[in-house]
C-alpha cells in the first residue's frame, strides 16, 4: 500500500507544468495574495520598530537633557530677546526644531558693561558674554510643514557667535562646540580665525586653512564641528573671538547673551531675581525653567506616543482583516482551480482506480498538486514581497501620523534623527527570515486546505462512473 512519493511528486510536477499558461496565471494570482500576506506583517513590524526607535531616541534625549540640566544647575542664562531659543546649554540636545535666532525677530543687544555689573552681584562666580548675530547674507529655503504643505522662508544664512577666548572660560564651561570633526577648536589668543559648523563649510565649499568671508571680512577656517540636526531648519554657525565678532557685526562693545554661573545652586534664585529686576531687556532662565521645559516636552511626547500607539492598534486591526482576506482568497483560488482540475480529469481518476490506486493514493496525488502550486506561488510571493513589501504595506495599511494634530505647531517636532515622513506605514517594510519561513508554511498549509475538498471529491469518484465520463 506504500505509495512511491517521488513518483507521485514527479506526476504532480508534470501535471502542473502540462498547462503552462493556466499554471502561470494561477501561481501569479496566488503569489500576489501571498505577497500581500507577508508584506502587511512586514509593514506592521516596520511601524513597531519605528515607534520603538522613536521612543528610545526620545528617552535618550530626555536623559541627556536631564543630565545637562543637572550639570549646569548653577547656570543662569541671560538673553536679550534676540537670543531666545538659542541657549547655549541646550541646542545640541534640543529635540524640537525651534526657529533660529533672527527669524522674524528684531535683534537686541546690551552693552558689555553689564558683564562687570553682574559679576559684582554677590554669589556670582563667573559671567561669560556672547555676541550672537545673524549674518548679513540671507537664504531662501523651502521647509516641509504639517500635512504635506511647504513654506518658503527667507532667513539669515548663518549665525555669527563671538565669545571671549579666555582659557579659564573655555576649560571650565562648555561654551564651545565639542564635536570637532576636522581641524582644531578655538583657543586662547585666536584672532582672525573661525570655527564653523560642517553644514556651513559645505555651503561655502571651504576646507581647513581656506580663507572665508564673513560679512565681508576675511577669516581663516581653523576647525569644523558637526552640529546635530535640530529639526527641519539646520543651524549654521560661525564661532570666533568676541572682539572679531563685534567688529564684523558692527556691534562694538555689545553682547546679546550672558551665561552667569553662581557659586552654588542655592544662590541661583536670588541672583536670577536681581538680574531680572535690574535688566528688563534680559530674559533670565534657570535650571528650574529648563526643568519645566523638559516636563512640557515630556508631556507633548507622551501625547504623541499615545496617538501613535492608538493608530498602530488601528493599523493592526486593519492588517488582521487584510491578512484574513488574503488567506481566504488564497485558499479559494487553490480550491476552485483544484475542483476544476478534478472535474477535468475525472476519466484519469477512473483509470487510476482501475489500475489499483486506492482512495488515499488518488487523494494524496491531488493534494500534492494543490500544495505544489501553492508552494510555487509562495516562492513567487516571497519574490514579489521582497521587492514590493513597502508598496503593498503603504497601500494597504493606514498611515501612521506620529504627530497627531497637524496644526498644533507651525514647526513639526522631530524626534532624534527620525524624519516624520519616513514613519508612514511600510516605508521601511522589509522581509525577515522568519516572515519568509512563515510564508512558506502558509503556502504549504493553504495549499493543503484549499485542495482538501477537491482531492476528497476525486477520491470518492466511483471508477465505473468515471470511465463513462468523457
Amino acid at each position: 500500500m506504500k505509495v512511491n512519493h517521488v513518483g507521485a511528486l514527479t506526476r504532480a510536477v508534470r501535471n502542473v507544468s502540462r498547462r503552462k499558461m493556466r499554471a502561470l496565471l494561477v501561481v501569479i494570482a496566488l503569489g500576489f495574495s501571498m505577497a500581500i500576506m507577508i508584506s502587511i506583517p512586514a509593514g506592521i513590524i516596520a511601524n513597531q520598530e519605528a515607534t520603538q526607535s522613536m521612543t528610545e531616541n526620545f528617552s535618550n534625549t530626555m536623559s541627556n537633557m536631564q543630565e545637562e540640566i543637572n550639570k549646569t544647575a548653577t547656570l543662569i542664562e541671560c538673553q536679550t530677546s534676540s537670543g531666545r531659543g538659542m541657549s547655549s546649554s541646550t541646542p545640541s540636545d534640543m529635540p524640537f526644531g525651534m526657529p533660529p535666532s533672527g527669524f522674524g525677530q528684531e535683534e537686541v543687544f546690551v552693552n558689555e558693561t553689564v558683564v562687570e555689573e553682574i559679576r559684582s552681584i554677590e554669589g556670582v562666580k563667573d559671567v561669560v558674554p556672547f555676541l550672537e548675530k545673524s549674518s548679513n547674507e540671507t537664504t531662501s529655503e523651502t521647509i516641509n510643514g504639517p500635512g504635506g504643505r511647504t513654506f518658503t522662508i527667507n532667513r539669515p544664512l548663518y549665525t555669527i557667535t563671538g565669545l571671549p577666548l579666555n582659557s579659564s572660560f573655555i576649560d571650565s564651561y562648555s561654551v564651545l562646540p565639542t564635536n570637532i570633526t576636522t581641524g582644531r577648536n578655538l583657543r586662547e589668543g585666536d584672532s582672525g580665525v573661525v570655527l564653523m559648523s560642517l553644514n556651513l563649510t559645505e555651503y561655502f565649499g571651504v576646507v581647513i586653512g581656506d580663507k572665508v568671508k564673513i560679512n565681508g571680512e576675511s577669516f581663516t577656517l581653523v576647525g569644523v564641528y558637526d552640529s546635530p540636526n535640530q529639526g527641519r531648519m539646520e543651524t549654521r554657525t560661525a564661532y570666533m573671538n568676541l572682539s572679531d565678532a563685534q567688529t564684523v557685526t558692527g556691534q562694538t562693545g555689545n553682547v546679546s547673551r550672558l551665561d552667569v554661573y553662581a557659586e552654588n545652586v542655592t544662590s541661583v534664585d536670588g541672583i536670577a531675581d536681581i538680574i531680572e529686576a535690574a535688566y528688563s531687556e534680559l530674559y533670565v532662565t534657570t535650571y528650574k525653567d529648563r526643568l519645566t521645559n523638559l516636563e512640557n516636552m515630556q508631556e507633548m511626547y507622551t501625547q504623541t506616543l499615545t496617538n501613535a500607539e492608538s493608530t498602530l492598534d488601528q493599523t493592526q486591526t486593519v492588517a488582521t482583516q487584510e491578512i484574513g482576506i488574503a488567506v481566504v482568497a488564497t485558499s479559494l483560488i487553490v480550491f476552485f482551480v483544484m475542483l476544476y482540475t478534478v472535474r477535468e480529469r475525472t476519466k484519469e481518476i477512473g483509470t487510476f482506480k482501475a489500475i489499483g490506486f486506492s482512495n488515499w493514493n488518488v487523494m494524496s496525488q491531488f493534494m500534492l498538486e494543490g500544495v505544489l502550486m501553492s508552494v510555487m506561488a509562495g516562492i513567487i510571493g516571497i519574490a514579489i514581497g521582497y521587492i514590493a513589501a513597502p508598496i503593498f504595506s503603504s497601500l494597504l495599511l493606514p498611515h501612521i501620523n506620529l504627530f497627531g494634530g497637524s496644526s498644533r505647531t507651525r514647526f513639526q517636532p522631530t524626534f532624534g534623527s527620525a524624519n516624520p515622513e519616513s514613519l508612514t506605514s511600510g516605508a521601511a517594510a522589509t522581509l525577515n527570515p522568519q516572515l519568509i519561513l512563515l510564508a512558506f508554511g502558509a503556502a504549504l498549509l493553504l495549499g493543503a486546505i484549499g485542495s482538501l475538498y477537491p482531492a476528497w471529491r476525486a477520491a470518492k469518484i466511483k471508477p465505473a462512473e468515471a470511465m463513462r465520463y468523457e
Partner: protein, 260 residues
Amino acid sequence: MSESVLKTEKLTKIFTMGKRKISALSGVNLQVNKGEFIAIMGPSGSGKTTLLNVLGCLDTPTDGMMTLNGIDVTKLSEKKLYSIRRNEIGFIFQTFNLFPYLNARENVELPMECTKKSKSERGKRSRELLEMVGLSGREEHRPHRLSAGEQQRVAIARALANNPAIVLADEPTGNLDTENKHEIVRLLGRLNINQGTTIIMVTHDSQIASHTERILFLSDGKITKEKQGLHLVKKKLMCPYCGSRIQLSDARCPSCKKRL
C-alpha cells in the same frame, strides 16, 4: 476439467435514475476458466460494459454472486477491492487511457507503484512487457508520439504489469483501423497462448470476436447465446481456415493467405 478463475451466478445490476430503475444485468451466469480467451458481443445497451465493470470490481453488483480465484468479491471491503484490482485484474480500454504526461515505461510502471516491487524491478518488468508487445526502443516516448496501435500496446503492457489473473478489455480495437485491429487481437491471442493469460474482451465486431475461443452474446443483460471461435484451432498452431501449419507470429496463413 480446467480450473475456474471467474464465476458468476445470477449477477444483477440495477441502475436507479431518478424514479426509473434500469436493469443493466439481469442474472448473468458465467464461468471463465484459466487460460481462456473469451469475447462478449451484443448490441449497444445490452450491458456489455456494465458486465465488464462488475467483473473488474470497478462496480458492485446489485445482486448475485461473483468469485475471483475462489474469493467472493461481492462481500469485500473497498480496501480489499483496490488490492484485487491492482493484483488480479488488468484493464484495457477503448480509448487506451494512457497518462499523457508519462512516457510508455512510466505508464506501464504505474500499477506496480503501489506494490512492493523495487524501482529497478519495476523498470525491468516494464521493459520486458514493452518488448513483449513489440515496443522495444520506444520506452521513453510519451503517448502523443505513439500511433493509436502503439498506444494500445502500451495499455496492454500496463494491464499485464502485475501479472493479473484476468485481463478485461473493453472494445480494445474500437478506436483502431483495420490493420491495427488485427494486430491487437493477434497480440492478445499470442499473450493468451504464450503466457496463458485469461482474457475477456468486449467487442461489437464479429470478425474480431471470431479470433477468440468462446463468444458470448449478451442481450438485455443476459447471456443468450454462446459460440465457438477460431482461437482454439490456432492454439494448436493450425490455420482455422485450411488446417495448414502456422506460426504464432504469422499475420496471414502461409498457404490460404487468409488473415489470421
